[in-house]
């Protein structure tokens, strides 16, 4: 059987998610061959827990990118999340209040980003580059550049605890995945996000509340980031003013690797999830193989560039084929009409 006519091959060629899934499986197979400790339960759970932090923030980031904007400030938002929750935790002693405080901060921080982009019409790249610096600086000023220790030991179990064999963080990420999937595929809000990302001008003239939706998306994104920041603070049992430095790059890379187009409107939750899994497993695999973290950075960079390039080539070949087919059809039609 000719491989080009193979049904599976055609399906893979047309589906981004299948390509990513295939890449993920191949990656896992290679690493498990090279390192026997990869497929142990402990390592798997550990890797998943690491990925969860990216994922919790990443699903929010995905919505922001889908609506055609970007949020570079997530790294310093994590620091804000840690500080606000730990401060509230230490004053009230209540874990619930600590989490609520972090999430409320998310609403404020997200609303600021959102208003800068919608009301003041500042390009989101610039606006969030600004807030990235502002929140980092504010965190340093507020803490005097020293970390704040948690005085409630139970707080740590939030991130390090388990439900059965599964870490809490993984469960939170799983729930967020489910919610995002549902919102994007089955709700009016998700549909509007895709429409606005696909063509903001058309959306506006179709009478969609473009600014309102963008604002809400920024707020949701920041709340997700706060959640990941709280988890981080919980794992370290302290609030670090330097927490999350460079985190925005990890998150955005994963989302882009998952096929979410930076121009907005294109991409799926499953793609984003696979992007996160691939980057996470790659990092874990390289660590297991004793590759230095500097080389890991280089590898990660190459993988992202390569992935986007392959995507362009793949789409290009499909498009070329379509054009060729259409031309052929036209020519046939032309000769028929002339005859």
């Amino acid at each position: 059987m000719n491989i080009k006519n193979n049904k599976l091959f055609v399906m893979i060629k047309q589906s981004d998610v299948l390509v990513l899934a295939l890449a993920f499986i191949i990656l896992c197979v290679i690493i498990s061959i090279l390192s026997p400790s990869f497929l142990t339960e402990r390592n798997i759970m550990n890797t998943l827990r690491q990925i969860s932090l990216t994922a919790i923030c990443g699903f929010g980031m995905m919505l922001i990118i889908l609506v055609g904007e970007i949020d570079l400030s997530v790294g310093s938002q994590q620091a804000v999340a840690g500080i606000s929750s730990i401060v509230v935790l230490n004053t009230t002693g209540s874990i619930v209040l600590a989490v609520v405080a972090g999430l409320l901060c998310g609403i404020v921080v997200g609303a600021i980003n959102g208003l800068l982009v919608t009301t003041f019409k500042i390009n989101s790249l610039i606006a969030t580059l600004g807030t990235l610096a502002i929140w980092r600086g504010a965190s340093m000023v507020f803490t005097g550049a020293v970390s704040i220790q948690s005085q409630v030991p139970a707080f740590q179990t939030l991130a390090t605890g388990f439900v059965g064999p599964i870490p809490n963080a993984v469960i939170v990420a799983g729930i967020l995945y489910g919610v995002t999937f549902f919102v994007l595929n089955h709700t009016t809000f998700g549909r509007q996000i895709y429409a606005i990302g696909g063509n903001p001008n058309a959306s506006k003239l179709a009478g969609l509340p473009v600014n309102k939706i963008k604002l809400i998306v920024f707020i949701i994104g920041s709340m997700a980031t706060m959640l990941s920041g709280i988890m981080l603070a919980s794992r370290m049992a302290s609030a670090q003013p330097t927490a999350g430095t460079g985190f925005e790059m990890t998150v955005i890379s994963a989302v882009i690797l998952g096929g979410i187009s930076l121009s907005g409107g294109v991409g799926s939750v499953n793609g984003a999830l696979l992007g996160m899994l691939i980057l996470g497993v790659l990092q874990n695999g390289l660590t297991l193989l004793d590759v230095s973290s500097f080389w890991q950075d280089i590898t990660r960079g190459i993988v992202i560039i390569l992935a986007v390039y392959i995507d362009i080539v793949r789409k290009g070949s499909v498009a070329n084929k379509l054009v060729a087919e259409q031309k052929k059809k036209q020519q046939q039609k032309c000769t028929i009409e002339r005859a």
Partner: protein
């Protein structure tokens, strides 16, 4: 004329997905002549120009320049062969000076340093030829449209153009500016340049051309010597069919006032006052740049409203909010589908339902079956040709895309007013008639319709009342029975 034509096109065919834009077209152009090309919108004039200029390749046929196979595959090839096109939308870089525009991409330079003195001297020479009197250092953005056009002509001359194609050159010019342009054309002609002159305006064509070619539905109907025919003959050839074949019979069912606009003023239009009643089709006519689209943008909350009020069924509509306009029962079918209409990442179905999601959902949850049923109903009702409702919208032909966007507003339950900007732009003739009858049917069912159009037959064939705009203001109102093409055009120009 026994000379070899400078441009000779034989048996040309061009097929776009879903549109046969040129059918077996023959066309030729001799040096030192002005050859006018006329035809309605969508007749294939622009397509031919784009093939001549190398912007499009053709499906089938032959294209000779000076008797040799043209081998023009891209616009640079055409420029090399001395063919310059001045498009309706001018291609100047407005932030650069006149001189830089004339010598764009070919600035005189030595060791990478621009020789400004030489540039300005050379530019001055070409500017004199076309009658531009200002300094060559002046930025193009400060020039009028007519002057910008002259800059492009100067550029064409500087490129040693043997053929200059002008696409609707006078559509945005005043009478005096048109005279100036004609002088330049006459001068070019005396220097043996071949000019292809594309225009709607018959008076101009008779004033300036040597030969006239009429296009209709992608075919060359006839090529005639200008001095052997009159306007009557020309119009008959252009129209070719009775208008009644194209437009549905209008059975007005006019009711209460739906839309009242009073003193609407934005940065681009001033003091617009009119109303539209239910079941009525109100047309807006005028030249390009008269502010019609800008008026609808201001009306629909997309452009900032400075003063004035818009009322829907007596209730004031919040200003500067398309969302509020949508809520109040307005719909807006845009002129530029690609940039302002389609959501290219979404399917036909999703493009249709995007403004009516509340009708197929409960507490945010979308009911997939309701959505499918609704889309299927619309595809059948509007006879939309698509392989499936999940096809992405950019893959459809222009006419079908337009129908999808029309369906978008038809699905909306509380729609009372539909604003349609250029309902048939970029749509082939068959689909045009369908869209006209749809619009008529909607009006008959009581929808108020505001239709902006540059095509006079369309305005006259469809509307009950017509407003003519010029320079951002309304300059005339006509009942359709008392208006004809001449009265509308006169009002739009003077």
């Amino acid at each position: 004329m026994n000379k070899i034509p400078i441009i000779d096109i034989k048996g040309m065919n061009k097929i776009f997905p879903g549109v046969h834009a040129l059918k077996d077209v023959d066309f030729n152009l001799y040096e030192g002549e002005v050859h006018a090309l006329v035809g309605e919108n969508g007749a294939g004039k622009s397509t031919l120009i784009k093939i001549i200029s190398g912007a499009y390749d053709f499906t089938d046929g032959q294209y000779f320049v000076n008797g040799e196979d043209a081998r023009i595959y891209k616009t640079e090839d055409a420029i090399q062969k001395g063919i310059s096109v001045i498009y309706q939308e001018l291609n100047n870089v407005t932030t650069l000076s006149i001189a830089e525009n004339i010598f764009f991409g070919r600035l005189p330079a030595k060791h990478g340093r621009v020789l400004w003195k030489q540039l300005y001297e050379n530019s001055q020479k070409y500017m004199d030829m076309v009658g531009l009197t200002m300094s060559p250092k002046m930025k193009v953005q400060y020039l009028s449209i007519a002057q910008q056009q002259l800059v492009e002509i100067a550029k064409a001359i500087s490129l040693q153009a043997k053929v200059i194609v002008m696409d609707e050159p006078t559509s945005a010019l005043s009478c005096k500016e048109i005279e100036g342009l004609f002088k330049v054309v006459a001068r070019l002609k005396s220097e043996n340049v071949a000019i292809m002159y594309v225009s709607h305006k018959l008076e101009e064509i008779f004033a300036i051309s040597d030969r006239i070619t009429v296009f209709r539905d992608g075919q060359n109907v006839d090529t005639m010597n200008t001095n052997e025919i009159d306007q009557q003959v020309l119009i008959e050839k252009m129209v070719g069919r009775k208008m009644s074949d194209m437009f549905p019979v209008r059975l007005p069912n006019i009711g209460e006032v739906v839309l009242e606009v009073e003193g609407l003023t934005t940065a681009k239009v001033n003091d617009i006052t009119f109303n539209v009643r239910s079941g009525e089709i109100v047309g807006f006519s005028g030249l390009m740049g008269a502010g019609r689209t800008e008026m609808t943008m201001g009306l629909f909350g997309a452009d900032r409203r400075i003063t004035g009020s818009v009322r829907m069924c007596g209730v004031e509509v919040n200003k500067n909010s398309s969302y509020a306009c949508n809520k109040a029962g307005m719909g807006y079918l845009v002129e530029n589908r690609r940039d302002f209409g389609n959501m290219p990442n979404l399917s036909v179905k999703k493009n249709m339902t995007i403004v009516s999601l509340n009708q197929i959902s409960k507490a945010f949850y979308l009911f997939p079956k309701k959505e499918k049923d609704l889309a299927a109903k619309m595809i059948e009702k509007l006879n939309i040709k698509t392989p499936s409702m999940d096809q992405l919208i950019p893959k459809l032909s222009g006419g079908n895309q337009q129908k999808v966007l029309l369906a978008r507003w038809l699905i909306k339950q509380n729609i009372k007013l539909l604003i349609i900007d250029e309902p048939t732009r970029g749509i082939d003739v068959g689909a045009k008639a369908e869209i006209y009858s749809l619009i008529e049917e909607l009006a008959r069912q009581g929808l108020a319709i505001l239709m902006v159009s540059s095509e006079l037959p369309e305005i006259l064939g469809m509307c009950d009342r017509v407003f003519v705009m010029k320079n951002g203001s309304i300059v005339g109102e006509f009942d359709c029975d008392e208006a004809n093409e001449v009265t509308l055009l006169e009002r739009a120009i003077n």
